[in-house]
């Protein structure tokens, strides 16, 4: 039998999913190893093989696809442990990276409370210190015309100085190079002639997009994390190949697609923070299978809460995701909004208020009930309220100390003059309401009403809260997949290979100006050609590929663009209005009726082409619906307390024994190996043909 494997490295666990050609899904977790991330993958693989009564080499030999989400790039960037990079840019603009558009370099990508702290929020350490930056003469103007030629001797000198400083690679970013890359290319040629062993990244190749700060940064980040990512992926790929894997390893990108080992260095920036995107890919797949158009996803783990959107089957994209404090890069990413709130978030008091977060107990010391820490976390609250069973946590592999959890909460309860249970109920309510607020923010910011969405809840900790935050939001339908705790790994296994290219070619669309049409068409053609060249290089046939073209459009002189799909083929006078109607439909959808201005000219800033190579994908197994009676899966009852409801007896179900067609009435708790679903009173749940639990949220008032 053939297999498909997805492996996703997270902060605590490395998750692995194995799907066989019949659609059976097996998953396993191993501890992540920060020093040797490949070890986590190998360990998960070994125990995963055991679970399907096989061994690693048999499993690998029968694997059609092995896809991997890695945090190697993320860690190298955050810890500033990447390559030694030199930068060549325009003379007079050597400080662009440090100036970082003023306060943006300090205040973008941090929580607002940090940005408002004028005194205690310093600039992050630079990726490239000033001494490794060289400005060279040679200037291209905003229309792409050369104003001043480059001085080749000066370029040679700059390269030599950087080489003498021992740089691992050189990034090159000149003004307006996305319109006219001649200077950058010449610098690249000189470098290859003079220093053939020195890797060079040109911004006109890495990211030919308007905005010199973000373009320089994208090129620099790429050069900085490329070598460590490549080294890791090569080692892992070689190891897997030696173990019997016949097809090249594939690597997850933020765009929701995969790439191949030979491209990871070139696409390094796109591999950073790809973990949560895997979950979105799985969510997209699942919503398609189940027939949902609009889905909001929530992924709650130990330290973070991630929210994503799928609308009309498509992802929302962020054209310039911020990777970390002050690091916005031009690498289109599936939009995922993260806040630092998870099972490990610590509750505290200033004697007057009851607060939760932003500090987290993390994996070490972890929640008090794990037996090491003393501070009360959200996980401790779940144990004290009876939502989590102390004996059945993580499939019974970890026993929880309820008394220790109660003591920890008691320390917060006492100064407030509240009881332990009351305090625990309060913390649960505060956290749940806050999650609802965040989901609402994400949907509203994109112009949507959350009530028109279904909620897909995954991650180890989310299903214990989902029914209640859905109710806050007016969402009626909550879906909890059986693979909830390994959803990102599942997404890796379900992804397509994708080659993405973008280029800015700012032009005002003018029906009377054939030149604007010509530039429009030429730009798209050129982008398609480079994307298809990648397809050729990978040995695949161009016919199999789906091309997706999008345009970043705005009204002339606006500050922000909207990305709209372009399926109109060659642009001419007759299809001219199509661009406008696409744009204005999207605009009204986001900003409301009556906000468009049909008399204002349209400006296209950036053109984007994705070549999607369909890959053989497993089909998840579906089983026919059986009888509704789920009583065989009942393991007993326990008391659960919730604010405004009080302490009630909840029926406890063994999640692994639930079958398609089963119906459960709340109050109930469904215990799975690695996650617990709370079904509060008044709600019902059903199990679908894929084993997903659907909660039908009661929108009325408390019963």
């Amino acid at each position: 039998m053939d297999h498909f494997i997805g492996a996703d490295t997270g902060g605590t666990f490395t998750d692995l999913v194995i799907i066989d050609s019949e659609g059976n899904l097996t998953f396993e977790k191993a501890m992540s190893n920060r020093q040797d991330p490949g070890k986590g993958v190998r360990n998960a693989l070994a125990s995963g093989a055991e679970l399907i009564d096989s061994d690693v080499s048999t499993l690998l030999a029968s694997t059609l696809r092995f896809a991997h989400g890695t945090t190697v790039g993320t860690n190298a960037l955050i810890e500033r442990k990447g390559a030694l990079v030199g930068l060549i840019c325009d003379a007079g603009f050597e400080d662009t990276l440090r100036i970082a558009r003023g306060p943006l370099g300090r205040n973008l990508g941090v929580p607002i409370t940090q940005a408002l702290d004028f005194i205690h929020n310093p600039n992050p350490p630079p990726l490239i210190p000033r001494e490794r930056i060289r400005g060279v003469l040679g200037r291209v103007a905003s229309d792409g015309v050369e104003v001043e030629p480059i001085d080749e001797d000066e370029v040679m000198r700059a390269l030599k100085e950087l080489a003498e400083l021992g740089v691992d690679s050189v990034a090159v970013c000149k003004l307006w190079s996305f319109l006219n890359p001649a200077h950058e290319r010449r610098i690249g040629e000189i470098a290859r002639e003079q220093f053939p062993d020195l890797p060079i990244s040109l911004s006109s190749e890495v990211s030919p997009v308007l905005g010199e700060f973000e373009r320089t940064l994208t090129t620099a980040v790429n050069a900085f994390v490329g070598p460590p990512i490549r080294a890791y992926i090569e080692r892992l790929n070689d190891g897997l190949a030696a173990g019997g894997l016949r097809h090249s390893l594939q690597v997850m990108k933020c765009s929701g697609g995969l790439t191949l080992p030979q491209n990871v260095e070139r696409e390094a920036a796109a591999i950073i923070n790809s973990g949560p995107v895997g979950g979105l890919v799985a969510a997209q797949y699942l919503s398609q299978v189940l027939g949902y158009d609009n889905v909001v996803t929530s992924d709650m783990g130990g330290t973070s809460f991630d929210v994503g959107l799928i609308r009309e089957g498509e992802f929302e994209y962020d054209a310039e995701p911020c990777l970390d404090q002050g690091l916005p890069v031009q690498t289109p990413a599936v939009k995922v909004v993260t806040v630092g709130a998870g099972g490990g978030s610590i509750a505290w008091t200033d004697g007057d208020r009851l607060l939760v977060g932003p500090h987290s107990a993390g994996a070490d010391p972890g929640p008090a009930c794990y037996g090491k820490g003393h501070e009360p976390t959200v996980t401790d609250v779940l144990v004290v309220l009876g939502i989590l069973s102390p004996d059945n946590f993580f499939g019974g592999r970890k026993l929880l100390d309820v008394e220790r959890a109660r003591e920890a909460i008691g320390r917060v309860a006492e100064p407030l003059g509240l009881g332990i249970r009351e305090t625990a109920e309060g913390i649960y309510e505060i956290v749940t309401a806050r999650m609802a607020d965040l989901i609402r923010k994400v949907t509203v910011e994109n112009g949507y009403d959350p009530r028109r969405f279904a909620l897909l809840a995954y991650g180890g900790a989310g299903p214990a809260h989902a029914a209640l935050y859905a109710k806050h939001l007016g969402i009626r339908d909550v879906i909890i997949p059986p693979s909830s705790s390994v959803f990102s790994a599942l997404g890796c296994a379900l992804s397509d290979v994708k080659y993405s290219y973008a280029r800015s070619e700012p032009l005002v669309l003018d029906a009377a100006d054939p030149d604007s049409f010509m530039r429009f068409n030429t730009t798209l053609e050129e982008l398609e050609e480079v994307a298809l060249a990648d397809v050729d290089a990978s040995g695949r046939n161009r016919d199999e590929v789906t091309l997706r073209r999008t345009l970043d459009v705005r009204y002339r002189a606006q500050m922000n663009e909207l990305t709209v799909p372009w399926t109109g083929g060659v642009l001419d006078g007759s299809s001219f209005d199509v661009v406008r109607s696409r744009f204005e439909t999207a605009y009204e959808g986001r900003y409301g009726q009556g906000t468009t201005r049909s008399e204002s000219p349209l400006e296209v800033i950036t053109f984007r082409v994705d070549a999607i190579v369909p890959t053989v994908k497993p089909e998840l197994k579906s089983e026919p619906l059986g009888p509704a009676d789920a009583s065989a899966a009942i393991s007993g009852t326990r008391m659960v307390s919730l604010r405004h409801i009080g302490e009630l007896e909840h029926t406890v179900y063994r999640g692994d024994e639930l079958a398609p067609g089963h119906e459960i009435k709340g109050p109930a708790v469904i215990e799975r190996r690695d996650t617990t679903v709370l079904l509060p009173i008044g709600n019902t749940a059903t199990v679908d043909t894929y084993g997903n639990v659907h909660i039908h949220v009661n929108s009325g008032d408390d019963q």
Binding site: T96, G102, T113, R130, R353, L354, E429, I430, K441, M559
Partner: protein, 695 residues
Amino acid sequence: MAPTSDRMAALDPITYEVVKHRLWQINDEQGTTIRSLSTSPIVVEGNDFNVGLFTAEGDLAVAGPYVLSHVTTMDAVIKNVIARVGDEVAEGDMYLVNDPGLGALHQNDAAVVAPVYFDGRAVMWVGNVVHHADLAGIDEGSFCINATDIFQEAPRYFLKLVERGVLQKDVEYTFVNNSRLPESVALDLRAQIGAINVAQERLHDLLTEHDPATIAAATERSVDDAERRLRALLREIPDGAWQADAYMDGDKVGSDRILRVHVELRKEGDELTFDFEGSDPQSQGPANATMYACYAGATTPVYALLCGGDIDWNSSIKRCVTVTAPEGTVVNARYPAAVSLCSIGFTWLAATAAWKAVAEMLLGSPAHRDRSCPSWGVSCNANNLFAVDDAGRLRGALLSDHRGGGGGAKPDADGLDHVGVSFSALSFMSNVEGQELKLPIRYLFRKRLADSGGPGRFRGGQTVVSAMTSTGTTQVTWKSQNTAGSDQSNASGIAGGYPGAGSQVVVIRDAAERFARDPDDALASLAGASEGVEHQPTKSEGRFGPGDVFLFHAAGGGGFGDPLTRDVAQVVADVATGCVSVEAACEHYGVLFGDTGDVDHQGTATERFEQAFARLGQRSDDGEALLGDSCPECGGLDPERRDGTVVVSSQELRDAGPWIGIRWAGRSPNFGLEITACSRCASLRNVREVRKADA
């Protein structure tokens, strides 16, 4: 309804936390709506707007994180609306107010405010303020640098924009049609209305879920909470009084008049008073502040340095902070003074002076000394460019490079470089490519300005200098609304640190090639009067063409402590990264380099002693200058110690660095430095910019 205290007691901490977070979220949605719909770079990149939720009485309960000075002015607007037409207000009404006499910061800042009704009763207010790109007046952009009274500036409105849910089209037409940029104003106004609608709808849901009494109790409690925490913080700071000055050099086009803002900050127990007695009489120009604007300026450092991200921004501040200013002064101008420039004029300078005074207060506070940062983006060197390009299209925009000004140093760290402006943490600079796409200009360079951070034991933050020429047009018109900083800098240092760079616009004729090829050399040629170099006064207008250079920089940050005590290794690092020149290393820090480029340690030690003795009017063989922490006279500059004999002397501005008063080559006839040093160890206790006429 039960009395306040009962309601608040009935509010449990859980409901409070849930409601409070929801209120923040609702207000955030208001802000998101405005940012999404606005077409104006002033709003989208500069974030020059703000949003708020208010109690039924108009007290601010929740403020957005955008421009600080709108935080206190929005509730003034609502209170004025309630005072004037409160008995006529009905459900579904929205008012539009941009009258500085009714609380608007200046005429560009139009507030849209509306009551929130529930069960037929007004239970809250919501409001937002947006800086509109142009609302008329004699100068483009409505910063009327030529105005001499309020009648030459943008019209002042107090209008019922929406009546019982119906947009009043005649009102909208009048407001929009008076602008030079009606399209932009129309869209921004729609954005403001949309934002109010969003907030009202969401508040209605919340009121239904929890009932008005609970929401009122939660808003009251959040204000009480912030008040309690701010008072607790203030009690940890020793009582006292501190003085500070800020100057405007040039108050309108064609005027070099110097005007002073003076403040005394008094701290008693858990309350602060900013007293502006001693500030100069109001100006004939447009930079005057109203009392509302003065309050907004003076409280800026309270939000930024004391509240930060930790204590919520709301009307609690009004309960702990009093601001007074004599009527008829630049910081409390009498009607009909022109005020259209006040937000970046005397409001800005009120903030600058208050900021310095708060830093002095914090310097003497063992618990909070780390917050003693004397200056932060002290000038708004805002320049508007307009041109008809070769294709015949009018193009215009505000440059944003002034958001690269420096921040002051602190007792434990150098100042932050290019921090932006004190009024907003979220006001970003545009890309060079973005500006070149929008305007017919080509940048020649944009870089950190070496030696722009005030010398000190910890160096002030650097500012950014930009230079550009015109391209694709015959000429570009500029309108410059630089706050101040052409004749001095306002970029105060503290505890013996020197001030940072001033804020200057320079036009250099026929020099584009030279500036592009060698920026550092070209910059060095700007000091003092010379052929083809036109140092602009702070309020100016004019034209430049192809080959000409339009150059400007905002202020740097001030230093902390005596520069002669700066760690030599840090000076060396600054020289290596180009923050400090070799010349400045010697002149300000007494650090000498040998022929090989390495530090001459012996020479450095001697140089530092020579410079220290010079402060005492002595030579090194005359006495015992220590520059040390063990001085028995000043206790090593122990901030608690205010006794000890000192030597006071004068220096030229040039002695603080090459970028102050550059039109005088640092030797201003109007300003100089007053240096106060310990009479025994020669350590600097204080360095300040003083008006020579006052000395």
